[in-house]
């Protein structure tokens, strides 16, 4: 039993489609020069190519030698998500956070995966320091060369776990037929131009709001944030408020990371509905897959895995 989860409250998002000219400058190589190149691929991924050798190679944002810092408080922005792959098992991805005291927290230890893999960690420097820099590494075994690809890095307030989806969910992975009206080049379905976005809908019972992980003596309602605490400590006014938050901030938060319990992908929330009837108050949600590039770049396992 895996309950659906979704991120909310962006502190920092890089969709890895731009290496330079960002708000706080550029992704900057500050190591000893083991990176051969860094580039944006298909407007969607950072591809870091490295030379052979065990010396660590990484890009930092913002430049650790510059004046800019992210200045994100880990007490507010508690989670970091990322997605990466490596060209072989000899190449290693690694992500480290640098705090305002100059200390580091390795949220992703050296890891290989030839398929895109998503990961997350709780940001915790152990003190009141702020998150100032993020390092994306492209490490390798001694004689290996290759690439490490990053899809996105997201620092967010937390994740919200759906207490239930009692009235059903529906995942709709689309085929990659173009379905373009005739006249077309060949027929109306064989264009192979890409794929519509997948959708996931969920209909939830707002009247029952208790996660199995929440103590029975807790007075809070897990449809409100923070979850799992007594009502007196909850700051949300209405049940399901997180989705109002996500919807309202969609202008500046291009996507959230949605894990339906069976699939996970970048998703945008379409208009949430809060129907209230005499016997049930419910919440209807529709999420649409988000992607900058053609889905031909990934297998279906990577796309929804």
């Amino acid at each position: 039993m895996t309950k659906p989860t979704i991120t909310y409250g962006h502190g920092f998002l890089d969709d890895c489609n731009k290496l330079t000219g960002l708000t706080y400058g550029d992704w900057t190589e500050t190591d000893t020069g083991a990176l051969l190149s860094s580039a944006v691929s298909v407007d969607d991924y950072f591809v870091l190519t490295r030379t052979a050798g065990v010396a660590e190679a990484f890009l930092s944002y913002p430049d650790e030698g510059g004046a800019n810092n992210l200045n994100l408080s880990p007490s507010i922005y508690t989670k970091i998500y990322w997605r990466f792959k490596t060209s072989s098992s000899n190449l290693k991805a690694k992500i480290m956070l640098i705090d305002s005291g100059g200390h580091g927290q390795t949220v992703l230890p050296e890891t290989s995966s030839t398929l895109f893999t998503v990961g997350s960690a709780t940001i915790n420097f152990g003190d009141a320091d702020l998150l100032d820099h993020i390092r994306l590494y492209a490490n390798a075994l001694a004689s290996a060369t290759g690439t490490v690809t990053y899809d996105f890095v997201l620092v967010c307030k937390s994740i919200f776990t759906f207490p239930n989806t009692e009235f059903g969910t529906e995942f709709t992975p689309p085929p990659r037929y173009a379905d373009i009206e005739i006249p077309t080049r060949i027929t109306d379905v064989t264009q192979n131009l890409g794929s519509p976005s997948a959708t996931w809908t969920a209909s939830c019972n707002l009247d029952i709001g208790r996660l199995g992980t929440t103590l029975g003596t807790c007075t809070g309602d897990d449809w409100k944030r923070p979850q799992g605490v007594d009502a007196v400590y909850q700051t949300d006014f209405m049940k399901g408020e997180v989705f109002v938050d996500i919807s309202h901030n969609s202008l500046t938060e291009p996507f959230q990371w949605l894990n339906t319990g069976k699939q996970q992908f970048k998703a945008t929330l379409r208009t949430p509905r809060f129907p209230e009837r005499s016997d049930t108050h419910s919440l209807d949600l529709t999420f649409k897959e988000y992607s900058r590039s053609n889905k031909d770049n990934e297998s279906y396992l990577e796309r929804f895995g």
Partner: protein, 289 residues
């Protein structure tokens, strides 16, 4: 021992009574066959009520009384005409015994289910007591850790005790149904006017879309019980209780999402006693914790 006085007269400072000795002669006949001494365990409800069930904690005071006991399936030539064993055993005594008491006889425990006093003319003669065998008395089991998931009855008991108005209902209790002592003790000895009784619930699972249950829809029967008293019309008090239950349900439907559902009249005439009663079904949703 109570004895019926048929009459008396005074001689100087002395009073000479003429007693009905029907019981004494009957008892002597039984005693000629063996001892009629048994232990009466007088039920006392003097301790505070249990915080979960709302039942009074029982205790017993033991005294020795004279009570010939006739077992079910046996007949006895000494029995007065028309006397027969209705339950597991029948006890005859002139000593005070009331419903709910226990009788210890030959290492077996019996509960006094009913007591019928018999009179000769206007004088008391003896009591006929229906006794039920308690086969599991003093049987113990292992200790269990109390579940962290609260009983549906308890959740509704807390809800009602929190919100029912002591002004509207000045002398009521909320308790689980089926207490292990007679209700007559509650109305009589404890002086309670109204009992709001929580019956055992029925329930349905709330199944999430991933097939795992995440909550329960429960139906808890709430029964009001009251009787006529000198200054109380039971039927009016029953309505007063209904009004108050409705007020609570109308004012506080949220939290675990409660609604007062179907009402079923339950008033019964029990001999000379009318027990005014109505059952309401509290519809109630809860999470799995």
């Amino acid at each position: 021992m109570d004895k019926a006085i048929l009459g008396y007269c005074r001689v100087g400072y002395f009073r000479i009574g003429v007693f009905n000795d029907q019981w004494d002669r009957l008892l002597q006949q039984f005693q000629s066959l063996g001892s009629c001494d048994v232990t009466r365990r007088r039920l006392q409800l003097d301790y505070p009520r249990d915080s979960t069930t709302g039942w009074w904690t029982k205790s017993f005071e033991e005294t020795t009384i004279e009570m010939p006991i006739i077992q079910k399936g046996s007949s006895h030539s000494l029995l007065p005409p028309g006397t027969y064993v209705r339950t597991d055993a029948l006890g005859l005594t002139a000593d005070v015994v009331v419903e709910g008491d226990e009788i210890l006889f030959n290492s077996a425990y019996y509960e006094v289910e009913a007591v019928r006093p018999y009179y000769f003319l206007d004088g008391f003669s003896y009591r006929e007591c229906d006794l039920t065998l308690l086969p599991f008395k003093n049987v113990s089991g292992v200790d269990y850790t109390t579940s962290t998931v609260e009983d549906a009855r308890y959740r509704n008991k807390v809800y009602l005790e929190t919100y029912l108005s002591a002004t509207a209902l000045p002398n009521f209790i909320v308790a689980y149904s089926e207490p292990d002592y007679p209700m007559v003790r509650v109305f009589n000895e404890k002086g309670v006017d109204l009992v709001i009784s929580l019956g055992e619930h029925t329930s349905d699972s709330l199944i999430d879309s991933d097939h795992y249950p995440f909550g329960y829809k429960e139906h808890v029967p709430i029964t009001t019980l009251c009787i006529n008293k000198i200054n109380i019309a039971g039927t009016k008090l029953m309505h007063q209780a209904e009004t108050e239950l409705r007020r609570v349900a109308e004012t506080y439907p949220l939290g675990s999402l409660r609604a007062l559902g179907a009402r079923r009249p339950q008033t019964k005439r029990l001999g000379s006693l009318t027990l005014y009663s109505a059952e309401y079904m509290m519809e109630y949703q809860r999470d799995s914790t």
